[in-house]
Symmetry: C2
């Protein structure tokens, strides 16, 4: 048995792009997450239904590979499947294709179900998982963890704004990515393109929080490391691989 | 002759909403602006074509009336027409409808064409205007101007981020609205809904700029006034009318 696939199309519009005319990375992740919500809705496992049981899906990690970021006005196909699961973790694959069928982006993501009042991970209930036809596996994936920033070459502070919180009462993805990448110099962002990103979420950020975004640049290997902290708390960390734009 | 109408549908998705589950006001304006871009593309008057002549459309004012903000997952119809024009100004009307045909939002906007190198308004070239079948009028509309903030009850500072600049090389609409409304207390935003907004743009904001968002609250009349400043420069001002959420 292999997991059900879900696909939908999306037109990239101007306000989803950055100054280079390409889809912003945070918006890209939003779109992929939307495709998984849409699959869940289609299968009847809506966020409301999960919420009624006091539970909520939480992403703990994304590993993103980017061949090319779609351009403004381009139609892309978002595809996803909840590939496999074990007692606590769901592994979901995403892909983005252009209209010629070329794979532009892939993302591998880890989801857990949280008890919202206890703020604790729960064992995945069978009836919530079954409709996706995911493969059960005993194996817990050992994904590479982003290393923490040790010698920050730059940092910026941000305040979580009222409009940063979405209908799911979370700080929307786009803001984590903006905080991380905005800490890089504009000259770096304009002369490099992101080809790989490994982002791990540790602790949620709330409205009014002051977040610190620190970055370490390894120019030789075109690697950057990022941490988002609130005080002493590490909320999110990421490792990015870049290619020079010739 | 009456101006050509253009309509398109849009599904409101979670990342376009705020914590109340309604479409954010900045995103609402983005969507309406997108409908006017889409009409222009359809009529062959693309931004690229206008840009090749060294020109670019700039909005100087929006007057927005909101009966109800659409909710997450709602399908809305965006409708627009370039109603009338004189030598320098284009007046465009927008409306947003729900699936039952109820009018949720209207917006009246003023556009000018800028010479990009001289940063000066130009007379509207006939061939750029004709395809919209707008009505020519000698009259220059005297729209009410938002008053400036005199006694700020709150203010916050923001830095323009790399990702705030879109493919048009402008600070995206959503950020102006976020800067303005985020300066209000969360309790106010959660207990009131925006019913009218008059926003006037004076001077563009650029990457790296520090902007100050100041707000004055008139609790008796449920009015708020907002200014966005960079140093001594007034970049944008707005007046908002609110209704209490019972």
């Amino acid at each position: 048995m292999s997991a059900k696939k879900f696909s939908e199309d999306h037109r990239v519009v101007y306000y989803e792009t950055d100054v280079t005319g390409s889809l912003g990375i945070g918006r890209l992740v939003d779109l992929m997450m939307l495709s998984s919500e849409d699959q869940s809705d289609k299968l009847g496992i809506t966020n409301e239904k999960v919420g009624e049981r006091g539970l909520g899906w939480v992403v703990t990690q994304h590993i993103i590979n980017i061949k090319r970021l779609p351009k403004v006005d381009e139609i892309i196909t978002l595809s996803t499947q909840a590939k496999s699961y074990n007692r606590f973790f769901c592994y979901r694959d995403f892909a983005v294709y252009d209209q010629a069928g070329n794979e532009l982006v892939t993302m591998h993501s880890v989801f857990v179900l949280m008890d919202r009042s206890k703020r604790k991970m729960v064992r995945l209930p069978e009836d919530i998982i079954t409709p996706y036809e995911s493969e059960y596996t005993k194996k817990i994936e050992r994904l590479p963890m982003p290393l923490t920033v040790e010698n920050a070459s730059g940092q910026k502070n941000y305040r979580v704004r009222f409009m940063d919180i979405d209908a799911n009462h979370h700080v929307n993805n786009v803001h984590y990515f903006d905080w991380m990448l905005d800490a890089l110099p504009a000259e770096f962002l304009l002369s490099h393109r992101l080809i790989k990103m490994n982002i791990a979420y540790r602790q949620e950020v709330y409205y009014g929080d002051q977040v610190n975004s620190a970055v370490e640049i390894d120019e030789d290997n075109l690697l950057t490391r990022h941490t988002i902290m609130t005080g002493e708390q590490q909320n999110c960390l990421a490792e990015c691989e870049w290619a020079e734009i010739k």
